[in-house]
């Protein structure tokens, strides 16, 4: 069975601090995909990144970076020099191989991030 755990329910930091959001996943598939989505206060869901299980390279996009470690089944998300506009709920998600019975995408419960000015 697939499972995504985001143990941090809420995080609050002061602007310009770095913050890491944790994501731990469980799957029996050897091929799978991991995602991060952002849900700002306006409610829409915004795609941030997708990684497949064969690519363990860390990725950096501006102030955002992702650390994928298969050995610990983790896909953590770090925001450097946080800004008030980063305040949102962040979801980690997992899917299996496309066009297979494992192709459904399962989300974690989310981490609410508040950045204080």
């Amino acid at each position: 069975a697939q499972k995504v755990t985001q143990a941090q329910t809420e995080i609050s930091v002061v602007e310009k601090e770095d913050v890491t959001l944790d994501c731990v996943y469980e799957t029996r598939d050897t091929t799978y995909y991991l995602f991060w989505y952002k849900q700002p206060p306006s409610g829409e869901l915004v795609f941030l990144i997708r990684r497949n299980s064969f690519d363990e390279q860390n990725e950096i996009s501006g102030r955002y970076s992702w650390n994928f470690q298969k050995s610990t089944s983790s896909f953590n998300f770090t925001i450097t020099a946080s800004q008030v506009v980063d305040s949102a709920v962040y979801f980690c998600a997992l899917s299996g191989v496309p066009y297979s019975s494992a192709s459904k995408i399962i989300f974690g419960s989310g981490t609410r991030l508040s950045i204080r000015p």
């Binding site: 989505y37 795609f47 997708r50 497949n52 066009y99 989300f107 419960s109 989310g110």
Partner: protein, 115 residues
Amino acid sequence: NAGVTQTPKFRILKIGQSMTLQCAQDMNHNYMYWYRQDPGMGLKLIYYSVGAGITDKGEVPNGYNVSRSTTEDFPLRLELAAPSQTSVYFCASSQPGSGPNSPLHFGNGTRLTVT
């Protein structure tokens, strides 16, 4: 290019009533999904479809039905509304294999209240 369109945006139902939440996408995506998001919670998968004529249950399918007669449309049916179905419903679509970053495209959600 509208993306994923959900209707209605808001709806109030009485217990026992039925309704259909509409979802349409114009991106020719094979995959479509229905999620519900309860207040302060994550997204739970209700049903999904990997193509026209093919649907499968997600994590929380009880009380819902779906159909996928065309690639574009994926309606979600509530037959006997219950207060436990009060939630925000999101429809999404994707096209796996369309590139290294083939994300879920979400609709703007339908806020449903059952009283």
